[in-house]
């Protein structure tokens, strides 16, 4: 029986393959399950044109379908193939805040995140997701290089 749940903040960039591998390996050792989270960055306070507003509902559907088929399902298949119990979800919002919120919802005991994006200019100015998680997470957070 699964005793713990590890949350994997999955962006599906190159770094995240190693995040997934590392989380799978850790879960296997402890008998934990994985909860893969893919967050589509979104703020309700951005500005849109009238045309974008008209198309937003349809685009959201497309984005969710694409993320599910191209990112989440292949990742979950990999974890399943490794024999680790897995669950996953896609949500819209602020990445670090949502990963922490979801970790609380699923009673996660550990967060795994890749180091991706930490070197970009915007990350230096506004902070990156891994650094944000390191600051606000209520459970140990593993930043996988």
């Amino acid at each position: 029986m699964t005793s713990e749940t590890y949350v994997v903040a999955y962006e599906c960039v190159e770094d995240d393959e190693s995040v997934l591998d590392y989380a799978i390996a850790s879960a296997k050792k402890t008998g934990a399950g994985l909860h893969i989270v893919h967050i589509l960055e979104w703020s309700p306070y951005t500005f849109l044109t009238p045309q974008e507003i008209e198309e937003r509902h349809g685009r959201r559907k497309e984005e969710l379908t694409r993320a599910k088929e191209a990112l989440l399902e292949p990742a979950m298949a990999r974890v399943k193939a490794a024999g680790v119990p897995v669950d996953g979800e896609i949500r819209y919002g602020s990445i670090a805040e949502l990963v922490v919120a979801i970790t609380k919802e699923v009673n996660g005991t550990m967060i795994y995140v890749g180091r991706s994006g930490m070197h970009s200019i915007s990350a230096r100015v506004f902070g990156s997701v891994p650094l944000g998680l390191a600051q606000i997470a209520h459970v140990p957070t593993v930043i996988v290089p």
Binding site: W42, T49, I53, R56, H57, Y92
Partner: protein, 512 residues
């Protein structure tokens, strides 16, 4: 919104764009004046014995009736509107959909602009500081009109199989009339669409392009208007036909910040003259009832204030109902609550800021002996420093404190004009597709026509054409407000049901 016909002093204060082809202009002017002049005169006809056009009264009376019918919803529901915009009642599972804030911001980007900057100067210049009081009163009543039309816009919107969501008066007129068993819905909707298309090409396009060029040539020096027209047309074409969202996105981001910056600079000026704010409010209140020596007195102040507000925030025109209709909500009434903030921000906040700055900076000339404003009979307005009016008066008021402000104001006006054009290209397109059906080819036809009119608008001084298109915009209000009167019981039902469920706790608050 900014309209040549309604702000003659404003139009006079802005240098007309140079003519590209005198002969063609004159021919078009003559044709329009001959065939449409009677209609323009009818729409803007003043009430007997006044200079107050009946169409302004139509908008104001509508606002009063909706205010009474919904029991001062703009006061009772104001706090709830803020909660909705903050997302307190938004389901987190709906993240990624259009939020209340986004719908409001998009609608505002279509209304906030030159009218808030120049129109107020015209109202204060003619009606005196007291016009501000009546402008605010009319803006407050207009909130109820927006509440009504935007609720209906969401309730009767269309959700297409490909996920697009859109609506507007043409849809609530058709569907709402059918639901209530009322005749003539289709005809009214078609009329509304015709007025919207022509209004979009004129007030929402040509006038914007014309004034954008006037501002640019004022800063850069005189040059042919068609150059501005072609440049704006190319950028607009790239956005509305080419689908280059980055340009539109940048504009949509910059314009709200321009608005915020404008209010911030106004606040700084007011804080720098904090000892005069009490005096300025005194001028506004006294002027509202006495006129402070301005010709027309109390009536003049009232007329100018009401006219300015009625024509500034588009309450009753129907355009806001198109902009607000795609929001994600299960309760149409929530968008009505959010939309009522629009006239508040547009008219009560931004217009009042402009008026206070004009009054406090002393650009209106006062007779030192009598303490009353000096009337310039020749110009038909209060004498001002440098004898400027309209946008130039606002610019002079701000420049008396910050000398760099006029250049920034010119940039702001151009961006506001572009943003308004993008919004009205969409409103016009929605009316076009209602009449001619959906389809890429049909839509391209309208978009290309829209771009061509940008060049015409900035290159020529087509007064009668613009007058006609202004008349079309206010014709939208005739059709729309008739429909609102007939459909307001539906809004009342929605409101009663929503308030009951809100009070019982059935409608869940997610945060706050």
């Amino acid at each position: 919104m900014r309209f040549n016909k309604l702000f003659p002093a404003l139009a006079a204060s802005l240098a007309p764009a140079p003519l590209m082809a005198q002969g063609i202009d004159e021919t078009i002017n003559t044709i329009f004046a001959d065939y449409t002049g009677w209609y323009v005169s009818f729409i803007f006809a003043p009430l007997p014995g006044t200079t107050f056009s009946w169409i302004a009264l139509w908008l104001v009376v509508g606002a009063l009736i909706f205010t009474g019918y919904f029991g001062f919803i703009q006061l009772r529901g104001f706090a709830h509107s803020i909660q909705l915009v903050k997302g307190d009642y938004s389901d987190p599972n709906d993240a990624g959909e259009v939020s209340h804030f986004q719908a409001l911001a998009t609608a505002l980007s279509g209304t906030v602009g030159l009218g808030n900057i120049a129109g107020v100067a015209v109202a204060v210049g003619i009606g005196g500081p007291g016009a501000t009081f009546w402008m605010v009163v009319a803006g407050l009543f207009g909130m109820a009109t927006k509440f009504t039309e935007c609720t209906l816009g969401v309730k009767y919107r269309n959700e297409y199989p490909d996920g697009r969501v859109s609506g507007g008066p043409m849809y609530y007129i058709t569907k709402g009339f059918a639901e209530r068993g009322l005749p003539g819905g289709k005809i009214l909707a078609i009329l509304f669409c015709i007025f919207t298309i022509l209004g979009a090409l004129g007030g929402g396009n040509m006038f914007q392009a014309n004034q954008a060029h006037a501002q640019l040539s004022g800063v850069l020096g005189d040059y042919p208007g068609w150059i501005t027209g072609i440049l704006i047309a190319i950028v607009t074409f790239m956005v509305i036909v080419g689908g280059i969202k980055s340009i539109a996105s940048v504009t949509e981001k910059v314009v709200p910040f321009m608005g915020i910056f404008y209010v911030a600079v106004s606040l700084i000026i007011l804080l720098m003259n904090i000892n005069m704010i009490g005096w300025a409010f005194g001028q506004i209140f006294m002027g509202a009832f006495t006129g402070l020596g301005v010709v027309g007195g109390f009536t003049g102040a009232l007329i100018q204030g009401f006219r300015r507000a009625a024509f500034s925030n588009e309450a009753g025109i129907g355009s806001a109902a198109i902009a607000h209709s795609a929001v994600k909500t299960k309760e149409p009434i929530t968008e009505g609550y959010v939309a009522l903030l629009e006239p508040f921000i547009d008219t009560v906040v931004i217009c009042t800021m402009t008026a206070l700055v004009i009054v406090i900076t002393g650009v209106l000339n006062v007779d030192p002996e009598t303490g009353l404003y000096v009337w310039n009979a020749e110009a038909g307005r209060i004498s001002t420093q440098g004898e400027v009016a309209g946008v130039e008066l606002t610019s002079a008021a701000f420049a008396s404190v910050f000398s760099w402000f006029p250049a920034l104001l010119a940039i702001a006006v151009v961006l506001f004009a572009f943003s308004t054009m993008i919004s009205w290209s969409y409103y016009g397109l929605k009316a076009w597709t209602y009449l001619f059906g959906e389809g890429a080819a049909k839509e391209i036809v309208f978009k290309v026509i829209f771009c061509i009119f940008i060049v015409i608008g900035s290159a020529a001084n087509l007064g009668p054409v613009i007058d006609f298109s202004d008349a079309m915009l206010f014709s939208m209000a005739i059709v729309n407000i008739i429909a609102l009167y007939l459909l307001m019981p539906i809004v009342k039902r929605e409101l009663s049901s929503y308030v009951a469920r809100l009070q019982s706790g059935e409608i869940k608050r997610f945060k706050g």
